[in-house]
């Protein structure tokens, strides 16, 4: 139903992407160079981040002003999507689609490809002194699977019934029984994305294990590489169970099996089913990926922040080994905490207690990492450039996100907070002002290596200051809303449960809480505006940015700055020999305040 004249936001994104690549078709589509693939991943995932963000901008309208036509894009929505957006109003079905796809796009098409694949591809081979990834063609295949998976996800908006509506978690039997083709597309898209991640993970791990330059021992790896290494393992081993679950749900949907459909379930949309399946099984397999996924989202950002903090405090990272071991512990323990998402399913007390315990344990290495990064600041002569500002903001933002997770990790408090806006605020603090700030820091930091030019410092700082303020204005009030009992996934923002609409009952949502929706939405739209300087800055600086004066403009120690700028195919002029650890800043007795790893 989409056609050339449609200008829906998701659509426009794809076209923009396409046009840009057409010019360099050969070079950019079928390249096996890890840096080009990294940039491909980067651009594509930034576009998907934009699409996912746009969906939320429209949803925020519905939450703040339920039942009113969406301004600006309302008529367009109706034209492109049809009845679900009649008169430009977001219907419940459309809201559900947007919600499910916001989560899916942001996580699987936005952050993971940007954090793991884009930065990983560009930076990891450079940082370990390798000429390329271990399997360049598999690397290309990985990007292509990701791209096709993304297209499938976007196409699902326009199939009969619209995109998937059962949340990014796609719980069965709900996901199976909603009569939309979109869920099938979602599952096929997921299988493609998982395949892409698996190929990527195999490639990264093999690269880090095999292609380290001479002298680059494990304990001389920059922490970013360690973070990617652990992330690679998480993706490698946590994704396959979800792939299995996806295949089974696809069977439920297409071949009418009953893997996740219990005996006695009677829904007209399902027709005759044999029953005998277990809805809880889906949740187990989903969260077996879902929780390690959280660390997939956060570890690369921690790695980036660590690089930038070391570089801009001009002193060694405090507790490098603690960072490394903590990230390894996180990797292991993250596989045995998943069911803390499932306290409300009635798994039983014993197992809930087990998962509650492991959840508390995993907070320890996270705190160690955060503490090491904080302590690294102590006594440093800090350079407050844009990447450093974002990196510094990451610390308290991730701290808030992490600490507010503790009440959700406890059985008792989770019963009250489960599925409320508190949960939304918690994980967005981890991922949005947390990970995304880390990624922004990374973009500003490595941009000169990719292009040979700096991004504008002034507009970078404007971007930072406004983003920082509005991020907090968006998510901080949600904690209060959640604690007041406002549930997530409601198209009217909880108006149905407002005290005014529920006379004679207690425990309704107060007017203040309902009105806060509008404040949050305003802040969200301002946050969108705050990204404009970034987008303009990003594209203008390619041609107009200040030129770098050397290959090592930040005066950093790690290997990626020892290459020509931008690095040519094959990266290094001659194989680098590594003589020292990654963070030898301000070594006493040296003439410079940094000693590159290659310096004897």
């Amino acid at each position: 139903m989409s056609n050339a004249t449609s200008h829906a936001v998701p659509h426009a994104g794809v076209h923009a992407d396409h046009h840009e690549e057409l010019g360099f078709f050969r070079k950019y589509v079928f390249s096996t160079d890890h840096k080009v693939i990294g940039i491909q991943y980067g651009i594509t995932s930034l576009i998907f981040l934009f699409i996912g963000f746009s969906l939320m901008m429209m949803m925020r309208w519905s939450i703040a002003y339920p039942g009113k036509a969406v301004p600006l894009v309302g008529p367009l929505l109706e034209k492109v999507l049809g009845d679900v957006a009649a008169k430009g109003v977001i219907s419940g079905d459309l809201y559900n689609s947007f919600g499910a796809m916001h989560g899916t796009i942001m996580i699987f098409l936005g952050i993971v490809p940007l954090a793991f694949a884009a930065f990983g591809n560009f930076v990891v081979p450079l940082q370990i002194g390798a000429p390329d990834m271990a399997f360049p063609r598999i690397n290309m295949a990985s990007y292509q699977a990701y791209f096709v998976g993304g297209i499938v996800m976007l196409v699902s908006f326009f199939v009969p019934g619209g995109a998937a509506q059962a949340g990014w978690t796609s719980y069965s039997p709900l996901a199976t029984s909603i009569p939309t083709q979109g869920q099938t597309y979602w599952l096929i898209g997921m299988v493609l994305l998982i395949t892409s991640s698996l190929l990527g993970a195999v490639n990264f791990l093999a690269t880090i294990i095999q292609l380290r330059a001479p002298g680059m021992t494990w304990m001389r790896l920059p922490f970013f590489v360690w973070a990617q290494f652990v992330t690679g393992f998480l993706l490698l081993l946590a994704f396959p169970p979800l792939e299995a679950a996806g295949i089974m749900q696809l069977m439920d949907k297409v071949a009418h099996t009953s893997f996740f459909l219990p005996t006695g379930l009677q829904l007209t949309s399902l027709g005759h089913i044999s029953g005998g399946g277990s809805p809880l099984l889906w949740q187990h397999l989903f969260w077996f990926l879902g929780h390690p996924e959280v660390y997939v989202l956060i570890l690369p950002a921690m790695g980036i922040v660590c690089e930038i903090i070391a570089n801009n405090t001009r002193k060694p990272i405090w507790g490098y080994k603690s960072l490394v071991y903590s990230s390894l512990v996180i990797g292991f323990v993250s596989f045995i905490v998943w069911a803390h998402h499932m306290y409300m399913t009635g798994m039983g007390m014993k197992i809930s207690t087990f998962f509650q315990t492991t959840t508390m344990i995993i907070s320890i290495p996270s705190v160690i990492i955060l503490t090491c990064l904080f302590l690294s600041l102590w006594g440093g002569s800090i350079r407050f450039n844009t990447p450093m500002l974002f990196a510094l903001a990451f610390l308290p933002m991730f701290g808030i996100g992490g600490l507010t997770g503790l009440p959700l990790g406890f059985n008792y408090s989770d019963i009250h907070l489960h599925d409320t806006y508190y949960v939304i605020a918690h994980f967005h603090y981890v991922v949005a002002p947390g990970t995304i700030f880390g990624l922004f820091a990374g973009i500003y930091y490595w941009y000169p290596k990719m292009t040979g030019r700096f991004m504008s410092e002034f507009w970078g700082k404007v971007h930072f200051a406004t983003s920082f303020v509005f991020m907090n204005l968006v998510f901080q009030p949600m904690f209060a809303q959640g604690m007041a009992g406002m549930l997530r996934r409601m198209v009217d923002g909880g108006a149905n449960y407002a005290t005014a609409n529920t006379p004679g009952t207690t425990g309704g949502l107060s007017d203040t809480m309902i009105h806060t929706n509008q404040t949050i939405s305003m802040a969200a739209w301002c946050l969108a505006l705050a990204q404009v300087p970034f987008i303009i800055n990003f594209f203008l600086s390619i041609k107009r940015g200040k030129k770098v004066e050397s290959d090592n403009p930040w005066q950093a120690t790690t290997l990626e700055w020892q290459t020509p700028t931008p690095p040519p195919h094959g990266n290094f002029v001659k194989t680098p020999i590594v003589h020292r650890g990654p963070y030898e800043y301000s070594v006493p007795g040296r003439s410079k305040d940094f000693t590159p790893q290659t310096e004897a």
Binding site: F233, P262, L281, L285, A339, I351
Partner: protein, 105 residues
């Protein structure tokens, strides 16, 4: 395992491979034969069949896939995998103890 072989080494290995091959065939026949006998309970039958399957699996992984004499790095990867596989299987089953089986009914 793959490096510095000489022809003599390989020939010795080939003998081993053939032995493993015969063992696997015998194992298959035994599995089928054993499945026709009752060992008191269904659980016992399952245990015996899986035990034989594990031996066969060990032979394939150990000799055909050279795991018996593989490098440390590979062991590391596989140990981590086994740990995660075990936790997935065990914890999932634990959460579905009879008390929780209302989900299935």
């Amino acid at each position: 395992m793959s490096d510095n072989h000489n022809a003599h080494d390989i020939q010795k290995h080939v003998k081993k491979y053939l032995f493993v091959f015969y063992a696997l065939i015998v194992g298959t026949v035994v599995t089928v034969a054993v499945s026709k006998v009752h060992f008191g309970s269904v659980t016992m039958n399952i245990a015996i069949a899986l035990f034989i399957a594990c031996i066969k699996g060990f032979l394939v992984a150990g000799y055909f896939m050279h795991l018996i004499s593989e490098k440390k790095m590979i062991y590391g990867i596989l140990i981590a995998t086994v740990f995660f596989f075990a936790s997935l299987m065990y914890l999932t089953l634990w959460s579905l103890e009879p008390t929780s089986l209302i989900h299935m009914k």
